[in-house]
């Protein structure tokens, strides 16, 4: 059945011309290439060791971004991979990683998926899209999970779901708080329904941890979308966000396709999320560690040696 016939059948209408127009509009949207990897990684004519800031356009020496990866000219936040992020949050040398060797399988026998995972592992030096472990932050013992947008856009399949669930279970078992840095394009399509089930699995573990009266802090980072937004990203007792992070449920193009209009630039930003009541505070990257430390202190957790 063609798209037109299908729509005609579903909608019980006879305006075929109008439908054809709609079908074409839908087709145009669907055929647009989804989610280009971020512009900052695109190689322009920039000399080696330098990077062009996509916000202010200045050519910046990479080392000047510093360990927080902030543009020295305009304060734009460049994405941090999980390893580098952990260094900016955990007390030096305190992070003990969990489940270091966990790797994806291929529940749907999806053509090309195992190869894609292998390639990404080689390129990124990570096994999958999250690192979890226990550490101290300013002396406060905390479970920490950090998602990694450099690994298949931080998509959530079995490994992400299992590692985050175990992190919550560990925290629950040891009566520890947990901090989760989210960034994700959503569910990992290659694992189909199994990736959808991770949303339920992690949310159940969050509920158990919460039922014990323990603290869960979410830090939303760029981008947090889809199935991660619709599960643990929005379940923190306290939800913080980095400035200007993309935060949303549906993709921008999908919405533009539905409503046939361009969306404003600030749609689905951290600031949009804050003003609509879906995050507690926007915190600059350089202040995050300090704010987390204060939150842990104010929840009565005991300080170990820093």
């Amino acid at each position: 059945m063609s798209l037109i016939d299908n729509l005609k059948d579903r909608l019980k209408v006879s305006d075929v011309e109008g439908l054809k127009k709609k079908a074409k509009a839908i087709k145009d949207i669907v055929s647009n290439k989804p989610g280009k990897n971020e512009a900052e990684e695109k190689k322009e004519e920039v000399p080696a060791g330098f990077i062009k800031c996509p916000d202010c356009g200045n050519i910046i020496e990479k080392k000047d971004l510093g360990k927080l990866r902030i543009c020295p000219k305009c304060a734009r936040l460049f994405r941090l991979n999980a390893k580098d992020r952990i260094k900016t949050i955990a007390d030096e040398g305190s992070f003990e990683e969990f489940d270091v060797n966990m790797e994806a399988k291929d529940p749907l026998n999806f053509p090309g998926y195992p190869e894609k995972v292998k390639q990404t592992q080689t390129k990124s030096g990570s096994k999958d899209a999250v690192r979890t472990g226990v550490c101290t932050i300013g002396g406060y013992r905390t479970v920490l999970a950090v998602m990694d947008s450099t690994f298949m856009m931080g998509s959530m399949g079995s490994v992400v779901g299992e590692k985050i669930t175990r992190a919550f279970e560990y925290a629950c078992d040891k009566s520890l708080p947990i901090v989760v840095f989210t960034c994700s394009g959503g569910a990992r399509m290659q694992e189909g329904i199994v990736s959808l089930m991770q949303m339920a699995k992690v949310s159940s573990a969050v509920a158990r941890h919460s039922d014990k009266g323990l603290l869960y802090v979410t830090v939303l980072t760029d981008p947090t979308t889809g199935g991660v937004t619709a599960s643990y990203a929005m379940l923190g007792d306290i939800i913080l966000s980095e400035p200007k992070a993309l935060i949303g449920f549906a993709g921008r193009r999908v919405i533009e396709g539905t409503i046939k209009q361009k969306l404003p630039d600030d749609f689905q930003t951290a600031e949009f999320s804050l003003s609509h009541g879906f995050c507690d505070a926007i915190v600059e990257r350089e202040k995050l560690r300090g704010v987390l430390k204060r939150i842990l202190k104010l929840h009565g957790y005991k300080k170990e040696a820093e």
Partner: protein, 265 residues
């Protein structure tokens, strides 16, 4: 044996019996309740209280229309955040009064629009997953047509998840799946085959516990047949679940979802 996309077509048929059809057939004394008490009454989600074989229950469904007018009213069965919040309100009410919960799911997905984002579609779904996972009454969800991604899962973190024989349940539509992964929306039939979205596939993957039979060609061809089977199964299973003590029920629900995932270490 139908191929996977034939099932998708049956699941989407405009003549397919809706949540309201099943509610009227299966339950007695249904009283519909409206609104999320925060923003609006989303007609894509219907719910209320009713009698199932002598037991008061809460029933919540996602409603599709059979005509253009009906579909405009129920937004083609795609709920806004207030729809999920209305469901959550009814779930909490059920918990307070110790009523089992039954959800009838039929949606191509949660609505993707400006208002839905402004009012926190992600948060609304997340909160439902969280609350359903530890709600202290027996829960059963049944996918009666389309089970579209997080928009369906928001009513399906339940003790039992069943599907009608020709319903489908997936992380994304086959059309969306093929355009995202293959950059080619035309390969939707192939996508439907790979995705394991049919009731039979999902039963084999142990994502669901039960398949409810339909007449040849779909439930619309003999509504009473499927509706009676579903009624009998619900009556039996609600009794079984109600006999469990609440800690056992919650432990089993946790483990039901805990085991999903395939990985090596």
């Amino acid at each position: 044996m139908a191929n996977a996309f034939d099932r998708v077509k049956i699941a989407r048929k405009v003549t397919r019996p809706t949540a309201r059809d099943y509610i009227e057939h299966i339950f007695e004394d249904f009283i519909e309740f409206h609104g999320d008490r925060g923003y609006a009454d989303d007609k894509a989600v219907i719910g209320g209280i009713a009698d199932l074989d002598g037991t008061p229950v809460t029933v919540v469904g996602i409603q599709k229309g059979k005509t253009m007018e009906e579909n405009l009213e129920v937004n083609f069965g795609s709920p806004h955040p207030e729809g999920y919040r209305k469901a959550l309100r009814l779930f909490r009410q059920a918990e307070k009064f110790g009523r089992p919960i039954i959800c009838l799911i039929n949606t191509s997905g949660a609505y993707c629009g400006v208002g839905a984002e402004e009012r926190g579609q992600g948060e609304a779904i997340a909160k439902n997953l969280f609350e359903l996972s530890h709600i202290k009454v027996p829960t059963i969800s049944v996918i009666i047509g389309e089970g579209g991604s997080g928009g369906a899962l928001a009513l399906a973190v339940t003790d039992r998840v069943w599907m009608l024989e020709n319903s489908v349940y997936s992380v994304l539509s086959p059309e969306g799946f093929s355009s995202i992964l293959w950059k080619d929306p035309k390969r939707y039939k192939e996508a439907a085959d790979v995705m394991k979205l049919t009731a039979q596939d999902l039963y084999e993957l142990r994502i669901i516990e039960k398949i409810i039979k339909e007449a040849r060609g779909g439930a619309q061809n003999d509504f009473g047949f499927t509706a009676n089977l579903l009624k009998n199964s619900l009556e039996k299973e609600i009794k079984t679940l109600s006999e469990k003590d609440i800690d056992t029920l919650l432990e089993e629900r946790y483990n039901r979802f805990r085991r999903f995932g395939e990985f090596t270490e």
